[in-house]
Symmetry: C2
């Protein structure tokens, strides 16, 4: 049975303040938790139904608690609790300019929506992008909504938070990398030469890329609209940030 | 001031049963409602703050109610009510084989998540796809979560619900159209010839395309993964349905 202090501890991890303090985060569900158990993420505790424990081997180093469905509901963040909740260590990655040489890296300038961030992490995983560098105002990647939206990709992508302007400047100075930015006035991405290394900057959902970072963009790109409506008839003004990211990553990789 | 019966009527439209009965839906917010007012959608009533009414011209044919922020909160489906709520007529579109000739059409086989459906409608708008044909098990496009996720594109895209197997069969018989389906075992989309007309079938978020519809697919396509993880190390298994749709539409249109 779950103790009151266990319940309140787990629920506290729904807040960034306590995740930062304990350096722990929560992942849930019979699809994601086995992926994390099978990854480099350090899983500390597993709270699971007897059914989950019957079907999944939990290494002896991990504390395990067999609980009932109604207990799981008391600690779950999901609309419908799903067999298992795991408490995991937030991984620490060093952001080293040298490690980004020869690679594509995603740079997120204030992506605020947890669903968008989670989806972008999943896209990075699909397109073989190892690192995502986020402004400090970007949503927290270890927020449980983000973790769930990554569908397990959170275990494979290195996510860094830092001051973007200094980071981008450093990539230009140290690695002479191209800085691609998705901007409405950018050049048609379908016709551009795209490098196999560099930074791809994605801006905030409503404001786009911040002014300071925009100054450092070397290649402004955009995804053309094929709408048969003219702008003054009110055509779609923009694509969702995660959708734009997926199309841009697809264009970089297909060539 | 809002009457009790107005409040209960508007709140009833959050349920599909009452939307169907009255053939009405709700749209909200200072960004989407002006787009709808400026479109072919018939807006019946506008419930708005004085600020919204000062900044937006409402045609005389539309019933308008000036209400306070706290009244708006009582009828809003948003986490944070945003100036205006509009009650609109659900548009009626005829699904005619002839109208789909020479065009690309999206076909959704049980897309269940309202956010995914809304995002797909927005993608269709961006890529100039006029019609979306949905299985009857697909989420309701006039659910308020879908309407909000379309960011106004709901006004420009014709959405139809029908039996997919008969519809796809009919397109083959009447229009000799190619039926493209996103399937894991499909051919690499980057290397395929893609027609400028035909159906693009997107399957359910977890089960994919149903067996009956799969039998009618003429061109199986897939988006290759560029992950540096091997499958047995647990690489990303799939892309989100809306993300896959965006990459596929981009590939059809860029050529």
């Amino acid at each position: 049975m779950l103790s009151k202090s266990q319940i309140s501890f787990i629920n506290s991890l729904k807040q960034k303040k306590y995740r930062d303090e304990h350096q722990l985060f929560i992942a849930e569900g019979a699809k994601i938790v086995p992926e994390l158990l099978n990854s480099d993420i350090v899983v500390k505790q597993v709270y699971a139904t007897s059914e989950f424990l019957r079907n999944n081997a939990i290494p002896a180093t991990i504390e395990r608690f067999e609980i009932k469905e109604n207990e799981l509901e008391r600690i779950s963040s999901l609309t419908k609790a799903n067999e298992v909740l795991a408490v995991c260590e937030i991984p620490k990655y060093k952001l080293n300019s040298d490690d980004l040489k020869g690679k594509l890296t995603l740079v997120l300038d204030d992506i605020k929506d947890p669903g968008n961030l989670g989806t972008i992490i999943r896209i990075a995983d699909w397109f073989g992008i190892e690192n995502i560098v986020c402004s400090s105002e970007t949503a927290d990647a270890f927020n449980s909504k983000v973790v769930q939206a990554t569908m397990g990709s959170i275990a494979r992508i290195k996510i860094h938070y830092c001051d973007l302007t200094s980071f981008v400047q450093q990539q230009i100075t140290n690695n002479q990398q191209r800085i691609y930015g998705a901007l409405l006035e950018g050049k048609n991405i379908y016709n551009e030469k795209l490098s196999s290394e560099g930074l791809i900057v994605i801006g905030n959902e409503s404001r786009g890329i911040s002014e300071d970072v925009q100054k450092l963009i070397t290649d402004k790109i955009s995804i053309p609209s094929f709408s048969h409506y003219k702008t003054n008839e009110g055509q779609a003004e923009s694509l969702n940030a995660a959708i734009a990211t997926s199309i841009i990553c697809s264009e970089f990789r297909r060539r």
